[in-house]
Symmetry: C2
Subunit: 222 residues, 2 copies
DNA sequence: GTCTATATTGTGATAGAC
DNA sequence: GTCTATCACAATATAGAC
């Protein structure tokens, strides 16, 4: 059960090709994100990385550990920026605008990310807890109230100023995340339903990036 | 390659216990929805159904066919009502209200459905086409324009009456679907992030069911 | 129709040469 | 570090008795 610690002091002189461990991790991300953890084959990952499949075990010991590394990296890319913006002291409209722009820009480059994360969390809900800790770096019990307090105060101020209808913080967050992430998670369905190819979907997202902040903020205005 | 047609004329006299094929399909749904198609094991399905695993092959021949049957059934439950309401001649606000109520009621009973559908479609995008045909019963090229035309007309009328800001039909639909379905697809994440158990999530959905129509319609009002 | 027993792959993982 | 060869077992699938 003890984890064998390998010494991996790469001599920079030989590094003509990219770091192998990194290449494997990249390949694993590609395959896991497309096929899902359970559906992915170690052999396919090895082929994608252009290495022998024995090397995957040399570097990551087991499929489970490799999958965990990929999941951790994927989650780290998706959530922390969101939390950072939401917990900042920017004005509310600015937060919304930035989140929409950032998420849509990010996901345009990695459209499989949302589907993969949601899929993994549905099949392995226990990883959600680990995820929250990873993204916070600390106990979520301490991070959550901080974001909530800031956000709740901002909402409350706008409500008091009669510029906004009341809304619970949780509903606010879920609405915003839904509108940003779902279109990518449902990309195959959306494209088929509308009879789209990649370009049409890209244009759809472009437009969404421009119009979504107004849509969202208008929903709360009064 | 020919599919062996079995004769399955059940004598109603003996049907003390439930139809076995149905029991298997139900069990398969349960397991596939929780574990995903690739992650599910035929043995687990057999155990869940309380039958020998050889029977799964007797009734459904292979895991692939069983998975397809489950997927078809799941998709049939999720989408047709949505399309039906959207394509009806109800007034626009009524459509929104009914969709929200119906979807949230439905998904409260089957919370794994959205995650499962999205997951399967991400891993097997080719099934999306089959899905659209299944739900329409006919060529989607004929069904899509009909819904679009009705909806576009309704939106246009409200815009002309200065009661609504312009919005593309596609964005309208995706926004509505996002707000209804995403919270369930992201249920494990939402519950963990907010530190919720089942009851808190249920209350969250209850509240959402009441407030979402207004939120959505206000977003479009002017 | 339902079971037991068995065949047949597919796939993760390791040993050991280089 | 990287490869070849091989193991061990899990999982789908089938044969055949009842």
């Amino acid at each position: 059960m003890t984890v064998k610690k390998r010494s991996r002091a790469k001599s920079p002189a030989v590094a003509a090709d990219a770091d192998t461990e990194q290449r494997i991790l990249d390949a694993a991300s590609t395959v896991f994100l497309r096929r899902g953890t359970a559906g992915a084959r170690m052999q396919d990952i090895a082929a994608e990385a252009g290495v022998n499949h024995a090397l995957l075990h040399y570097y990551f010991r087991s499929k489970d550990r490799l999958a965990e590394a990929v999941f951790r990296r994927a989650a780290t890319r998706l959530l922390p920026p969101f939390v950072a913006i939401l917990g900042s002291d920017l004005p509310l409209d600015e937060k919304v605008a930035r989140i929409v722009e950032h998420e849509l820009d990010q996901l345009r480059e990695a459209p499989y990310l949302p589907g993969y994360i949601l899929s993994e969390l549905n099949h392995h809900p226990e990883r959600a807890a680990q995820l929250v800790q990873t993204l916070a770096g600390v106990d979520p019990e301490r991070v959550r109230p901080a974001i909530f307090a800031t956000l709740a105060r901002q909402i409350d101020e706008r409500v008091k100023a009669k510029k906004m209808r009341p809304i619970a913080v949780e509903q606010f967050i879920v609405n915003l995340v839904s509108l940003c992430i779902f279109p990518f998670a449902a990309r195959p369905m959306v494209m088929t339903m509308f009879g789209w190819g990649d370009e049409e979907f890209a244009r759809f997202i472009d437009r969404r990036r421009r119009e979504l902040p107004a849509f969202f903020l208008e929903a709360l205005a009064r």
